[in-house]
């Protein structure tokens, strides 16, 4: 099962909850599973084709001229280098 917090229509409120903008519901982490069929991956580094995981929740970003470390949960909706990875779309 996928998580709402990884979903494109999840808008975080704080570190434990957010709003499902598509339906208007408040979603609390730990209770935020979403059917795979409904899941649309959010723009996060971990779903980017330029992100290579290296350790837990951390990885390498190769989307810019200079490679740099990155972290999986980083929001990337305004990152000019973001490209949705094929496996994220499939998920």
């Amino acid at each position: 099962m996928c998580k709402y917090r990884d979903c494109d229509f999840y808008i975080p409120i704080d570190v434990v909850k957010g709003i499902d903008h598509a339906h208007g519901d408040v979603v609390v982490m730990g209770d935020d599973e979403i059917d795979d069929a409904e899941f649309v991956p959010a723009h996060k580094c971990k779903f980017c084709s330029h992100y290579q995981a290296s350790e837990k929740n951390m990885g390498i970003c190769s989307g810019f001229e200079t490679e740099y470390w990155a972290f999986a949960e980083n929001g990337a909706c305004n990152c000019e280098a973001f490209e949705m990875a094929a496996e994220a779309i499939k998920a």
Partner: protein, 909 residues
């Protein structure tokens, strides 16, 4: 038959006819009385405020990441260029969330109540606690005040870790999966942050050891240069309102070309102009993209919602933000959206508290007038936007160390909006929009923005009465500041930098009550010229932070030695004090030494800050930076004499001095050694640490106490007390103010080569600073909270009514100081009805006319506060005025809660 030994301080005081919950001017009604004025916000504002009430203070490390990445990529660049690239990257990449039903959009970070660590400024306090760097920071005393600082356990504070959420600094929550990245960012700046670099050079000050001991013993509350180096100042939104981003980018580009390679007659800073304009160009590009990204987010949300109303509203947001990313604002909503995002932009460049929007009712008035005249907006819409603004501003959090955010700020961020005052020509500046802002403050009670009335005799009666109506809601705002006194202060302090009477009229309050210079800017709208006020000075309340006055007296009595920490803070004086004057002289000598040492160290901290991470957003917006091509580091701001000496505990200091003078030197009832013995033994009471509380009412007698200190304690309590129109003690205050305001600041110089002045307000420091201070000669017990503010009386000691308190407070010239602070607690029945409002207005006028600078009211039945303390879950929305700020009751630490309960409650006016 032996009587039982009273255990609680409250019981002992009751035996002596004293109370911790004092009442004056009559008795409270038998039944608990609620506040009289209660109104509701619009459904939209209410919905968004309700989200806030259920939101945790959350850390987002996105800014930290993008800043660090860009800064590392531009290592070796000219520092201000490197900062320009870093901030550009931040604004280009930050998430731009829009929550349902918002019209005014924007957030500091990716959460509703989010903030970000800024490790280039300071990183030690959010490192893992086992790291050597964290331990090294502890050794410097930088975190000493954190040990005695408290957050309220309720509301949105994440005081403890839970589940996958880690508590940082006792207030903020960060997701467990982001902790490794946060630590990596902290380590990336280790040895390179302002904190670390400044520390290296601070240690070259010969008296550095004294500074370190001052911090460890909490004689001063916190370091200035790397905790909250900006703030306590007033924004100036003019350039973006007048030009828009595209034009500003062109101005920067053109000016960079004009000054490249040209010193322009200034051999020191002239060449800096090229880097200034180029880096500002980068910043404006980033800001423009940030606005654009909000427009893009609105577009994205339109694509994932089916709600027709929401689509219409999002389309409006989209159109506005896409346009404002390039053009100057045309309408009221445009201008309001612009100033709100600019405010956040400034907050995102530094750890900050007390960044005040200033007189925005006068800044926005031309747009309001235009839109009302042409029928494109109604007053109801304007009122709702003001309510939405209140909610958005309340969501602002500042991420700084516990000692600052908990011990000083009580979690508040002090975004002060001022109303009233006078215009450029000296006439009342109060306007219709400000009346609406007051209504919004009544309808939608929130902590931010707090409101301050710049009281001037020219203000219309209707306007002052509306202010009183707002005060009676119990929200604690508007506070009332004296326009005349502020202008006199400004002309005195900034005259040598060109301050005139006309310019002084543009002042506003930065932070809770820091008088801050402004200027008038020519805004053109629809072919009309409007002179709008805006900030024009450097941050205030930077420099020497919250000297603990009673603690210095304690050190005088103990030969410079602090028994709590076992440190010799000041060199021993080895005096036995044959006369009171000798003791008073030593007090001033230690005070002077503390200020000299702290000034040197803070100058170094701020110098490193201005070299590495100077203000960019404010250096763009504040006159005369853009005109001169110089930022804050090169004195580009119009006014630079803003550093100050803050103090805490004045009332306890003066009352203690009065008790010592009377009991030891005049009546000779006790020797100084006998008094010191009583203080050392806390008058027979347990220490606050033994009791486990720093609150007055929890203090208990020691089990083995034989009553030997009862008489001296009673005499100390009965010694003359400030606040009763008693010349014996009041004159001691006035003599102190002369030395403190006039003699002391003249002896030290800030890093800009400008003179200091003093700032007299407590914020929340009277909690932690009281916690580290031994029993005092006024009868206060060890570890307990000091009197709040600077002109308030100690709880329960002002027994002769408000006017006697006013007499005591106004026997000195308040314009010698940046501010003074008077908090008054009134029972709701004292100001009931129109008649009550008039009495409140008369009371306020009386204080202003006598020359008081500031007064603020808590309209509350103390019994409500006691119920709220016992059942916080039922009082999430209860607001209370502390000292210069309004805060949710549940987010305040218990010592300050107890102090507010204990304040004298006036039952009538």
């Amino acid at each position: 038959m032996a009587t039982l030994q009273p255990m609680k301080l409250s019981e002992v005081l009751a035996e002596r006819g004293l109370s911790l919950e004092s009442h004056a001017n009559g008795e409270a009604p038998a039944e608990i009385t609620d506040r009289e004025i209660k109104r509701e916000p619009t459904p939209r504002a209410n919905y968004l405020r309700d989200i806030y009430f259920d939101t945790l203070s959350s850390l987002d490390i996105q800014e930290s990441y993008w800043y660090s990445r860009a800064a590392m990529e531009h290592e070796g660049e000219v520092p201000i260029m490197r900062r320009g690239y870093a901030l550009k990257s931040v604004f280009e990449h930050l998430d731009t969330p829009i929550w349902p039903h918002e019209q005014l959009v924007g957030a500091k970070a990716g959460f509703y109540r989010g903030s970000a660590p800024l490790p280039w400024l300071t990183e030690s306090f959010f490192m893992d606690k086992d790291s050597d760097l964290y331990k090294a920071a502890l050794d410097t005393g930088a975190e000493s005040s954190a040990e005695v600082s408290h957050f309220g356990a309720g509301g949105g504070n994440v005081t403890k870790s839970f589940g996958n959420v880690v508590s940082v600094g006792g207030k903020y929550g960060v997701r467990l999966e982001n902790v490794p990245a946060m630590h990596r960012l902290a380590y990336a700046w280790a040895g390179k942050s302002v904190e670390d670099v400044a520390r290296k050079y601070e240690q070259m000050v010969p008296e550095y050891k004294i500074k370190e001991n001052i911090m460890k013993s909490v004689v001063s509350n916190f370091d200035s240069g790397f905790t909250i180096p900006q703030g306590r100042e007033v924004m100036n939104y003019y350039f973006v309102l007048e030009h828009g981003f595209d034009e500003l980018i062109e101005i920067c580009k053109k000016r960079a070309g004009e000054v490249a390679g040209e010193p322009g007659g200034d051999g020191i800073s002239g060449m800096d102009r090229l880097y200034y304009y180029t880096s500002m160009g980068l910043l404006v590009q980033g800001l423009s993209k940030w606005f654009e990204n909000y427009g893009r987010e609105a577009d994205r949300l339109i694509s994932i919602t089916n709600d027709e109303n929401e689509i219409v509203e999002l389309a409006e947001i989209s159109e506005r933000l896409h346009r404002l990313a390039h053009e100057k604002p045309k309408t009221f909503k445009d201008a309001f959206q612009t100033i709100y995002l600019l405010h956040l932009a400034e907050l995102n460049e530094d750890a900050m508290s007390g960044l005040s929007p200033g007189r925005i009712g006068q800044v926005l008035y031309p747009y309001f007038e235009q839109d009302i005249e042409n029928g494109t907006i109604t007053e109801k819409e304007v009122e709702e936007w003001q309510e939405l603004y209140r909610v958005k501003m309340t969501c602002i959090d500042a991420f700084a160390c516990t000692g600052v955010v908990g011990g000083v700020l009580s979690g508040n961020t002090f975004n002060n909006v001022c109303i009233g005052g006078v215009d450029r020509d000296g006439k009342s500046a109060a306007n219709r929009l400000e009346m609406i802002m007051l209504d919004a403050g009544i309808n939608c009670q929130t902590t931010q923005p707090t409101l301050s009335l710049l009281y001037d005799e020219s203000a219309p009666e209707e306007f002052i009465m509306k202010c009183m109506e707002c005060v009676k809601t119990g929200a604690g705002y508007p506070a009332i500041m004296n326009n005349r006194i502020a202008m006199e202060f400004l002309i005195n302090q900034y005259g040598h930098e060109g301050m005139t009477v006309q310019e002084a009229r543009a002042w506003s309050v930065g932070g809770c009550l820091e008088t801050s210079p402004g200027t008038w800017m020519p805004l053109h709208l629809n072919g009309k010229l409007h002179w709008i006020p805006g900030g024009s000075a450097q941050p205030t309340s930077v420099g020497i932070h919250f000297i603990n006055n009673p603690k210095i007296l304690e050190l005088v009595l103990n030969n410079g030695f602090d028994k709590r920490t076992g440190l010799q803070v000041f060199p021993p004086h080895d005096k036995s004090f044959e006369t009171f004057e000798e003791l008073d002289g030593q007090f001033k000598a230690y005070y002077q030494k503390a200020c000299e040492v702290l000034n040197k160290c803070m100058n170094i901290q701020h110098d490193v800050w201005r070299k590495f991470t100077p203000s960019m957003v404010n250096s763009l917006l504040k006159p005369n930076c853009l005109e001169k091509g110089l930022g804050i580091a090169q004195k580009g701001y119009r006014y630079n004499s803003t550093f100050n000496i803050e103090c805490c505990g004045t009332c306890n200091q003066i009352n203690s001095m009065a008790a010592i003078k009377k009991l030891v030197y005049e009546d000779k009832k006790y020797t100084l050694d006998q008094l010191k013995d009583a203080l050392d033994n806390n008058f027979g009471y347990k220490t606050s640490k033994e009791v486990g509380s720093e609150s007055l009412k929890d203090q208990e007698k020691r089990a083995d106490d034989d009553g030997r200190y009862d008489e001296i304690h009673a005499d100390c309590l009965r010694a003359p007390k400030y606040g009763n129109d008693d010349p014996y003690v009041d004159q001691m205050l006035y003599d102190w103010e002369q030395w403190f305001c006039n003699d002391l600041p003249a002896t030290i110089e800030n890093l800009y080569g400008e003179p200091y002045y003093v700032c007299q307000m407590s914020v929340s420091t009277h909690g932690p600073e009281g916690a580290v201070t031994a029993a005092t000669a006024d009868g206060r017990l060890q570890g307990t909270t000091f009197a709040d503010a600077s002109m308030s009386a100690y709880p329960g000691t002002d027994t002769h009514g408000q006017y006697a308190l006013f007499e005591s407070a106004t026997g000195w010239d308040h314009s010698m100081s940046q501010n003074s602070q008077m908090n008054l607690k009134l029972h709701p029945s004292a100001a009931r009805g129109i008649e009550g409002s008039r009495k409140l207005m008369d009371l306020t006028r009386a204080y202003m006319r006598k020359g008081g600078f500031h007064i603020q009211y808590n309209i509350i039945d103390s019994r409500v506060l006691k119920k709220a303390q016992a059942n916080p879950e039922n009082y999430r929305t209860l607001l209370i005025r502390v000292a210069g700020f309004t805060q949710y009751w549940v987010e305040i630490g218990k010592p300050i809660q107890d102090e507010v309960i204990a304040r004298t409650e006036y039952e009538s006016i």
